[in-house]
């Protein structure tokens, strides 16, 4: 792919031979992932269409690149010198809009001019600020938590007592997940770090994997210690080209601290692969489609082995618990969900970056931490594209699982994307549904067809029939196999509630 810019049947036959997969299965894989679908020229330019880039530029940056380079998204020049594609999301939400030329990601003011001139330069990385005197997550992993471990039973008990809730969106208790796998009679178990959660607007996992890989590896080794696993996989997004090299280096260095075996595997561009069953399919070289549960990964995961799948930030919480215990961890967020939480802000904020905060602050306080939004906040989308949208009138909502859910929103993946005053909320709906439809894995019928129809309702320019939209949202929400289809209605429902006039409902 990298050499010739496209996948040929000869490549597929070779892949089938080497992997032992049937040719048809290899063909199926090669038509699923973004990285394999788009033909590449000698120079391959990718334009980010994530939510933060949309909040910064609408689609103006996409049109500028298309016009300036003379190619539409997904096209390659006849002489194969150049190709242009869409990508979601590069994780430079603090400096949007972002564009990727080869493996150089440029973002922010002047980035589009530079890509047109062929002079991209690496964008600045985001600032990292902890509100804690002793940070839990924004401190370099030093393996001191791993060194402080006692017995697997005690560590598992501590993680359960600490009530670590998953930081990827669902908020499932990590200790419970570990316990399921620990109880399995199969002596071979696997830990998987989900580094392919591509929620547009969130760059928390990117920062942790690139700038603090040892904390993640330490957390994985501890997870392995607690459940009885000796190996683990990190599936890292290909949209973060700095992440895999950073992790590979850290894996070499980690050999000084642990015998736990780490395998770093790069994804190939698919949002739904962030769902755990799809992640496991991807990890095994298959199409990244969702599977019905049961079986849960804890019973049958990677190569049929009991598998714990955890979010990156979740695993990064573990070294602190191993070292300081559950009580100290719980005390970080008094009268709220235990632990600390990373949040990240988009470029519309005065001081965007990754901030480590306790649970229990109000959303307004969080926004003030990041310097507020000079253009004024019209609404926020917190936690990713499947999250409800919080209007400015509800900024005093407490940032924690239950209070966010009570207003149709979520903690989710911790991203805080501001849409400033003047943003067209009909365009927001269309943007989100375009993302939803193009990332549907295509397995379950409600999501495969329903998101295409929901997007069409907003993209066709006419009024949106409210009752048929409501029926479609119900079908998606209650019928879909995974959180992608069942979650996409949440932001649309918020927009119906808070901005009905703008949606053009009839």
């Amino acid at each position: 792919m990298d050499q010739r810019g496209e996948i040929t049947d000869a490549d597929r036959q070779l892949a089938a031979e080497r992997s032992g997969l049937p040719e048809a299965a290899v063909y199926g894989v090669s038509t699923f992932y973004d990285d394999l679908l788009t033909p590449r020229g000698k120079r391959h330019v990718r334009v980010c269409t994530g939510t933060a880039c949309f909040a910064a530029a609408g689609e103006a940056h996409v049109r500028e690149v298309e016009q300036g380079l003379g190619l539409a998204l997904g096209e390659r020049a006849e002489d194969r010198s150049l190709s242009v594609a869409e990508t979601v999301c590069l994780g430079y939400c603090h400096a949007a809009p972002a564009v990727r030329d080869g493996d150089v990601i440029d973002a922010g003011p002047g980035a589009i001019e530079r890509v047109l001139a062929g002079s991209c330069r690496p964008a600045p990385e985001p600032v990292q600020v902890s509100t804690f005197a002793e940070p839990v997550l924004l401190r370099q992993g030093d393996w001191s938590g791993y060194a402080a471990r006692t017995t697997p039973e005690e560590l598992l008990a501590a993680v359960k007592a600490a009530e670590v809730r998953g930081r990827g969106g669902a908020g499932f208790p990590a200790g419970l997940k570990w316990e399921f796998a620990a109880k399995s009679p199969n002596p071979d178990k696997v830990i998987v770090a989900n580094g392919d959660e591509g929620d547009p607007g969130s760059y928390i996992d990117k920062v942790l994997m690139e700038d603090n890989p040892h904390l993640l590896l330490e957390g994985m080794a501890l997870a392995g210690f607690a459940v009885g696993a000796t190996q683990g996989f990190i599936l890292v997004r290909s949209e973060y080209p700095r992440a895999k090299p950073a992790l590979d280096r850290a894996v070499e260095e980690a050999k000084a601290y642990t015998d736990f075996q780490f395998h770093v595997i790069e994804g190939a561009g698919s949002y739904v692969v962030g769902e755990e069953t799809a992640l496991l399919s991807c990890l095994q070289g298959l199409r990244g489609t969702v599977s019905a549960r049961p079986p849960f990964p804890a019973e049958r995961g990677v190569h049929g082995l009991p598998t714990v799948v955890n979010n990156i930030e979740t695993l990064c919480n573990i070294p602190y618990i191993a070292k300081h215990g559950a009580e100290a961890y719980r005390a970080l967020s008094p009268n709220a969900t235990p632990g600390s939480k990373l949040v990240c802000f988009n470029e519309r904020f005065a001081k965007p970056g990754v901030y480590e905060v306790p649970f229990g602050m109000t959303v307004r306080e969080l926004c003030e931490l990041a310097g507020g939004v000079p253009g004024g906040i019209k609404a926020l989308q917190i936690g990713g594209p499947l999250a409800g949208i919080l209007p400015a009138s509800l900024l005093d909502t407490v940032f924690d699982f239950a209070p966010m859910a009570a207003v149709g929103c979520m903690v989710g993946h911790g991203s805080i994307v501001a849409f400033e005053e003047g943003t067209d909320m009909h365009a927001v709906a269309e943007h989100l549904l375009h993302f939803g439809a193009s990332e549907s894995c295509g397995k379950c019928f409600p999501c495969r067809i329903g998101l295409n129809r929901a997007h069409a309702m907003f993209a066709n320019g006419g009024p949106v029939d409210k009752s048929s939209l409501e029926a479609l949202l119900e079908t998606l929400e209650l019928g879909s196999l995974c959180a992608h289809g069942s979650g996409m209605p949440a932001p649309i429902r918020s927009l119906i509630t808070h901005f009905p006039e703008e949606l053009g409902l009839a």
Binding site: A24, A25, Y27, T31, S270, F445, R448, R453, L478
Partner: protein, 205 residues
């Protein structure tokens, strides 16, 4: 044995039994074939379960002691009907009356599509001496792929594409004839829309 209630009737079934296995024909299905592993894709087998937060798929949900199942749950039926309505809206026209899809649509009394939109472009493979594939009728239920993998063991078919563009192809999208297909016909036998059918039947029409 596990005691459950379905539509007010008492049942005693073995552990590991799914709701669909216990309830049988009273639950409509599209992506299910009893010879294959449940797939959970079509969501037409949704039923109500007392205490559940929403409708549950009967094909992939195992019974639990004391479970109370309502196959006529209004919400579950409404969602299942909408799903079939979506499926009909992506096809070039009404499915032939003898097909499973047409029968399920009739059983659920599916009305006019409320969400019109893109349909699949006609792509026909009639190069094989016995098997024909009309891709625009494919609803990505995966039954043909599982028939080939699990029943026949030939692995000649695959799901392809993603999202609305998902479909099924043989081999390296080269048609049945050039693929590993052994012409067993299991795919045509299980197809609920006649997207894959026997060429001779197609020529009769």
């Amino acid at each position: 044995m596990i005691d459950i209630t379905i539509d007010g009737e008492a049942f005693s079934v073995a552990p590991g039994t799914t709701i669909l296995e216990a309830a049988g024909d009273r639950v409509p299905t599209l992506c299910f074939d009893e010879r294959q592993t449940p797939f959970g894709a079509c969501r037409v087998c949704l039923v109500g379960v007392e205490g559940a937060s929403g409708p549950v798929p009967a094909c992939t949900t195992q019974v639990r002691p004391g479970m109370v199942v309502d196959t006529q749950d209004p919400t579950a039926t409404r969602v299942a009907r909408s799903v079939v309505e979506l499926v009909l809206s992506e096809l070039p026209g009404p499915p032939a009356e003898h097909t499973e899809l047409a029968q399920v649509a009739a059983q659920l009394e599916v009305g006019e599509p409320r969400w019109p939109g893109a349909r699949h472009e006609p792509v026909h493979d009639e190069r094989h001496p016995y098997l024909a594939f009309q891709h625009e009728w494919c609803i990505s239920c995966g039954r043909c792929v599982r028939a080939c993998d699990e029943v026949q063991g030939t692995f000649a078919l695959t799901a392809t594409g993603r999202g609305f563009a998902a479909n099924v192809v043989a081999g390296l999208d080269e048609g049945f004839r050039a693929s590993a297909c052994v012409a067993c016909g299991a795919c045509a036998d299980t197809c609920p829309t006649d997207a894959i059918t026997e060429l001779s039947l197609l020529r009769l029409e």
